[in-house]
Structure formats: C-alpha cells, structure tokens
Amino acid sequence: MSRNHSSHVLCYIAAAVICCITALPFYVLFNMSVRSIHDLGSKLRMPDAVNWDNYVQAFTESGIWRGFLNSLIVVILAVAMIILFSSMAAYGLSRARTRLAGYIGTVNLTVMMIPPVSLLVGTYSLMVAMKLVNTLPGLSLLSAATGIPAALFLYSSFMVTVPRDLDEAAMIDGAGILTTFFRIIFPQLKSVTITQMIISAIGCWNEYLMPMYLLQNSKKHTLILVIKSAFNSFNGVANLPLAAATCVIGIVPVIVFYLALQKYIIKGQIEGISK
C-alpha cells in the first residue's frame, strides 16, 4: 500500500512539472502582451501597470478580423476537399481489385514524404501560370493537395475495418457506387472523419510558408500573416507588445477549439492508430 502511495505522489509531481513547463511560454506571451512598448523589464514578473491597449489596438488597427475571415475561408474550402476526396479515393482504391490500386497506394506513401518547400519553384511558377496567386481558393487548392496524401493514408487503413457485406447488400438493392458510398460507407467513417477534419483544419489554420508567398496582397492575408506583419518594424521599431497581443488573439480560438474537441483529437487518434 505504501509503495502505491509514494508512486502516486511521484505521478502528481511529474504532472505539476509538465503543467508548469507548458504554461510558461503562454504566460510569457501574455505578460508581453499587456505591457507598454517602452517597458523592457522582466518577462517573468507581471508589469506594474497592466495595459490592455495593445488588445484594443490589435482589434481595431491590424486587420485581424479580415485575417480571421480569410483563414476561415481557406480552412473550410481545404478541409472540405481533403475529407471528400480522400474518403472517396480510399473507398474506391480499397474495394477495386486491381493492381493499379495497389500501386497508387505506394505512390501516395512516397508523396507523403516530399516536403512542400522542395517543390517551391515548381509550385510557385505553376500557381502564377494558373493565375492562382493572391486568391484564397488558390491557396485552398494547394493546401488540400498537400493534405490529401496523409488523409488518404489514414482513411485507407480505416477502410479495412468496414465490412464488405455492407457494399454487397447495397449493391443487391440496386444502389450505384456513389449512393453506396455516401449513404452506407461514409456514415461508418464518422469517427475517423471527425479526427481527420480537426487535424487538417489545425494544420491549415497554422500554415505559414505557402500563404506567405501566394498571398502578397495584404487584403488576402490569413491570420498567421497578419500576426507575422505585426512583428515587422515601423520606422525601425517593432511594437513587440502589440505583436504579442496579436499572437494571443490568434492562439485563443485554436486553444478553445482544441479544448472543446480534445476528446476527438487525442482519443480519436489513439483509437485510430491502434486499429
């Protein structure tokens, strides 16, 4: 009994350490965001006068609302394409008894390993030629394409657990392939779909490199780009507290989203992987 007790104490000490280490960066960011621009004091001690003006300024001057809206548009378009196209493809490839389907699976795995930046020159000149630079749908298409391989992989490993009897029963009832997929198969994939939607949405929301080069027009900037420009200096001085406040505004929605849906993210992935 006593051994059990002491190991419990160790558990809670470890828990406390983990919480402190995780909380510290967020605390420092918050601390930075409520000081005045001239305050170069300690980042650990709260400033004597808490200054909320940075938040007011961030909301009114930095174009953060537009950034929020632009990010939302890109995420919704990209995630819709990722989910729809990957689940359809996984279904088709797993049920078709052809050698080609197997090859496509292997090629997909290889594509997963290609870092998007290594194709930068090829991608960028393609986007220019297709007139997709400075457009939100253009960015969504590109984000969807880079997100599809991993989603297709996850759906494919999940499709094995959906019994073929379901398809066959639907087929006997005279349902076509599209009807079978949307009415019968897709509802079976609900849990993996929710997990994949969240992962894709977060990844897309936090994307930095591609928006940076594709969206040069500041009216098209996504939230991350608005935050990035808050760090730029005006007349040689960067308003770091304002930038920190912008960061906080950018982080809070994601954290709220995460805490609300953490069940689907952590448990969803644990169950998804162990299948």
Partner: protein, 288 residues
C-alpha cells in the same frame, strides 16, 4: 470488371489534385533545375546538369544538409524517448491523467511560427527569459544564439518539446493494443518491471516505433517555420535547413534554377533516409 473501373473513378478527384499540385510541380521543378534563371525574367539559359554540379561544391549546401540531419534525427530521437516515457507515465491509472494528456498535446495546436516567436523571447540575450532565470541564481547571462550550431540545437529542443505529444499519442495507442494477459503472465512469473518492459512491452511496441520514427523524421526534415521565427536562419546563415535554403535562394538570391535543383536533391536525400529506415523497422515487427 465494369464495377472495378467505376470504383477506380472514385479516386479520380484526389489523384487529379495530386497530379496537378504535386506531380506537375515536381516535373516543372526538374525542368527548371536545368536552367540558369532568376525566377521572373523571360531569359533562361540552359545549363544541363550545371546546377547539380554546383550543389556539390556549395559549402552552404553541406551546412544546411548537416543542420537538416540534426533537425530531423535530433528531434526524432528526443521525441521518441520522451514520447515513450510520457506514454508509459500517462498509461498508469491515476486521477487527472487525461488532463495531463491534454496538456502535453496542447503546444501542437500553436502555429510553429508563433511558437518560434515566443521561444525567441526565451533565448534573447538582453531581457530573455532564460537569462533572467540564470540571473536569479546569480549566474552570468549566456549568449544563447551565438553560433549556428547553438541555434540549431536550441531549435531542435524547442521543436521536440512542441511536438512530443504526437509521439505520446502513437505510443499510448501502442500500449493500449498490448493485451493485459501478457503482462499479467509475466508478473506471475515474478519478472521485474524493467525486464517486463525490455522483453514484453518494447518488442510489442515496434509497430508504434516505426510509425513514430517515420512521422517525426519526415516532420523534422521538413522543418521551416520555426527556424524563420526563432533565428531567421542565422547567425550568418548558420542554422539554415535545406527547406529554408531553397526558399532563400529562390526569393532572396534570385537563383530559381539552382533552388529547383536543390529541391530535387532534397527530395532524393529524404527518400534515401526514410525508405530504408521504414523497411528496417517493418522487418522487426512482432506478430502476436
């Protein structure tokens, strides 16, 4: 077989996306890599394999390659060791363990670019958080980002910390897949905890190790955003990764052809590194 063809059609939208936005840019990049081109003008001069030859005498290429390997393998090692420890710890039964899982995973939600900015506040020389903590103990401030290698190590540490939750999740999934009877049988035989871990848990975790290593390696070798915000590739281009170097060459140095060639070389390097590791680990998987 008409049905097979219809089923294959279901994959068409996804394949079309991959062909247009990944395969086509790849072919385009290979084509451009054969030219000397500044990225925007109409003038391009054919070099053949000249760009590739230049890469092998470019000292910055070797430095970026070395850094990329540290980013990739360093993060993979740290994340797997700590991810496994965290998973073992959070697989124990105690109240509040779900909350700690949520906390460990939380930093993954923050954009890498923002996390890099926050961490920059930690490693600054003047007024940085780490130096402030040091001064509480009466120690002299340290110039954390003094050299390329120092920056590379710090960025690797921060990256490992931020994404350790991914590994934890993979290993938790693996641990939950091990039937309890194996461990119970071992306990009955009077096996010590360490032996149990070494001879039962670890071999059965090999599939999880494969997954975790490959995911981490791919992510680590791709690293870009965090380097931008933590060190801007500096000091003196000392902490560049291959991704970052490609981007600099293209948009900064206006060497688009050379950047394209470097991109192709990067893909080849990543394939050479990840494929054998994947195969090696796959062979060691235990069936039970």
């Amino acid at each position: 077989m008409k049905r097979n063809r219809k089923l294959m059609m279901m994959a068409l939208p996804a394949l079309l996306m991959l062909v247009v936005f990944i395969v086509f840019p790849l072919v385009n990049a290979i084509r451009l890599s054969l030219f000397k081109w500044n990225g925007y003008s109409q003038r391009m001069s054919f070099l053949g394999l000249g760009n590739y030859a230049d890469i092998f005498t470019d000292s910055l290429f070797y430095r970026s390659l070395g850094n990329t390997l540290i980013y990739g393998f360093g993060s993979t090692l740290l994340q797997n060791v700590f991810g496994l420890i965290l998973a073992l710890y959070l697989n124990m039964k105690f109240r509040g363990r779900n909350i700690i899982r949520v906390v460990v995973y939380l930093p993954i939600m923050v954009a890498q670019f923002i996390m890099g900015q926050i961490m920059y506040y930690f490693v600054q020389y003047q007024g940085g958080v780490l130096n402030e903590i040091l001064s509480m103990f009466g120690a002299e401030p340290v110039y954390w980002m003094s050299s390329g290698i120092a920056a590379v190590i710090l960025i690797t540490l921060v990256n490992s910390w931020q994404y350790v939750g991914l590994c934890m999740v993979v290993y938790l999934a693996g641990l939950q897949g091990i039937p309890d009877m194996y461990r119970e049988a071992a306990r009955l035989d009077g096996v010590s905890r360490l032996q149990e871990f070494r001879h039962i848990t670890l071999p059965l975790l090999v599939p999880s190790i494969t997954t975790a290593v490959v995911i981490n390696l791919i992510n680590g070798l791709k690293m870009y955003d965090m380097i931008v915000s933590m060190s801007s590739g500096g000091p003196n281009r000392g902490s560049l990764s291959l991704s970052y170097y490609i981007q600099l060459l293209y948009f900064n140095d206006e060497k688009a052809g050379y950047a394209a060639a470097l991109g192709v070389v990067t893909i080849v390097v990543i394939m050479i590194l990840t494929l054998p590791i994947n195969r090696f680990l796959k062979k060691r998987e235990v069936e039970y």
